[in-house]
Amino acid sequence: AAGDPVKIGVMLPFSGIYAQLGEAGRDGLKLALKENAANLHGADIEFIELDTEAKPSRAPELASSLLNQHEADFIIGPVHSGVAMGMIKMLRGKDTVMIIPNAGAAAATGPLCSPNMFRTSFSSWQPSYPMGKVALEKGYKKVYAISWNYGMGRESLDAFEESFTAGGGEIVEKVLLPFPSTNFQSHVSSIADTNPDAVFTFFAGGGAIKFVKDYDAMGLRGKIPLLGSGFLTEGTLKAQGEAAEGVMTGLHYAEQLDVPKNREFREAFNTEYGHYPDIYAVQGYDAGQAIANTIDQLKGDISDKQAVISTMEKLTIDSPRGEFTFSKAHNPIQNVYLREVKDGVNVVQSIAAEALEDPARGCKL
């Protein structure tokens, strides 16, 4: 009923390996709702934050807490795909709207898609698929692909392979390491031995840092180009230092992206939190915008959940990454940019794929 606050449940990792991602997402989310406070038609916003620790085992319980105990109107989360599955199990088909601000699992907007589930980030497929074409354009014929053997790792390599081999490229070797092992040195030696035209990879967080450092330490940087899904150089550049120079990645965002909204957002974020945002903050911010815009369009009355969903479906989000809309499966239709690290910054080279839509295999929406 009107007058009740709008409850936003947040299920992100605030401890453990993905803590930084969780915090960024939450900060972005809060910033969006703060900026839009005037458009909420008087609705008060209340946040309930729960730490997932990026552990899937507690995901259904926490989701149940947000759904049943706190009766949240929107639930934002998570970062980790495994956790996403646990949340989906609980929330799928319910009235409460779930917005995923990071986890890329194909299933979320694929076979398990559901009217009440949205994603403001990406599907694993999206950042990697265009990179196959990029590799071909650069003239690479033989590529060594390496990642972790888990959902996003496999989906990323598969997406790359899909476009790369379709265009006549050859994957000389496809290596899937156990997650989250970071013992890369021997693989770097193998790469040196195989001597491919380029290397394609998906790693994130600590693994990304370690891989890029090992690659450089063993002297391969500058000899064999390193391509990747954009997470290889997101939030990790400072730690990677010089080792990351020249790495080319595909992602739906870049910090220096020349979009007015991006400049605005970056400054606002910096004013609010004292540091500049990264991709995870952008995705959280867009989740916040999606909520704010929906409330705005419904004039503050979100009691009709069907209306909420159908309003949200039609939104065009003015994201720092450029405007995007939701696909039928509720995944963003967005540009993927080719970026290259220069002087510690991901510099946009080109748009690798425009308005790219995830194939949403298996989704019946």
């Binding site: 390996i17 013992n183 030696s189 031995d193 600590g206 840092i209 063993m218 002297g219 939030g235 400072k238």
Partner: protein, 287 residues
């Protein structure tokens, strides 16, 4: 696999093994020799890495930072032993599990409060930043060679002290029967405080040495913890030699497994350990 690549991987494996030994060295002392089940060992490794990162950012010098961090870790070890561990010596060993798991929580949380959750890296110190030619299109970083030597030096020193000196005998005797050691006129309480603190310092030193090669991230402590225990146990409790050989074997085996059957490579050290324990239920170098 070509012979050249075989040797390259062998070197990689040995180097990884040496690093493993380094990371496990503190645990070998604290757990293997003194018999304290310290699950917070990984946290000490993490503390070392974060401290050196922090001091490098402040002072700019790796050497100064390394020394500062090691000294702080030593102090931390003394405090932990005095305030916490010491109270549990005459209790069930499992209480140590509880205590040190509590410590993991606290350290992880302090890490996040003090240093935030961003991943960090430490640059290789300038003096060691070069690399030597290795194969056709790869080279070997000097720092990693340096680290390998540090590991060997620590292994040798540890082996010497524990098995050859009177101090080492006292430490071992303390694990066997504290009361009796004290009845021989030895201040076992202070001795254990110091040795525990040295164990903590070794863990931190491994974090320091590893910092320029690895990433400094939340949860980095837990990720090495089990491997350390595996190394100590494969070698046989209390045997420095065993831990050293165990670490090298684990390093080489997991390196080859990683390239030959990558998807299995996380399992391989467990399979190896199970096999070792089935043949030698007390580890390779059990007395």
């Amino acid at each position: 696999m070509s012979t050249e690549l075989f040797f390259v991987q062998l070197i990689n494996g040995l180097q990884y093994g040496l690093l493993l030994f380094l990371i496990a060295s503190g645990l070998t002392l604290v757990f293997g020799v003194m018999g304290i089940l310290n699950l917070a060992h990984g946290s000490m490794y993490m503390v070392g890495a974060y401290l050196v990162w922090y001091f490098v950012a402040v002072t700019g010098s790796f050497t100064v930072s390394a020394i500062l961090s090691a000294v702080i870790a030593l102090g931390l070890g003394i405090v932990i032993e005095r305030v916490l561990i010491q109270r549990l010596y005459n209790r069930n060993h499992l209480d140590q599990v509880l205590l040190t798991i509590g410590m993991i929580f606290v350290f992880n949380s302090l890490q996040s409060i003090l240093w935030g959750n961003d991943p960090y890296g430490v640059a290789v110190p300038d003096a060691l930043s070069g690399s030597v030619p290795f194969t056709d299109n790869s080279s070997y970083p000097v720092y990693r060679i340096f680290a390998a030597f540090i590991c060997i030096a620590i292994a040798a020193a540890l082996y010497f002290v524990v098995s050859k000196t009177r101090l080492g005998m006292l430490i071992r005797a303390g694990e066997s029967n504290r009361e009796m050691v004290e009845a021989l006129g030895v201040n076992i309480k202070s001795l254990y405080t110091i040795v525990f603190a040295i164990g903590v310092m070794l863990a931190a030193v491994s974090g320091i040495i590893a910092a320029p090669m690895r990433s400094i991230v939340p949860g980095m402590g837990e990720s090495v913890l089990i491997t350390c225990f595996v190394v100590v146990v494969i070698g046989g409790m209390g045997s420095i030699k065993g831990a050293f050989v165990g670490a090298l074997l684990v390093g080489v085996i997991s390196t080859f497994a990683a390239v030959l059957m990558p998807t299995m490579s996380n399992m391989i050290i467990y399979i190896f350990m199970i096999l070792v324990l089935l043949v030698k239920p007390q580890g390779l170098f059990a007395k």
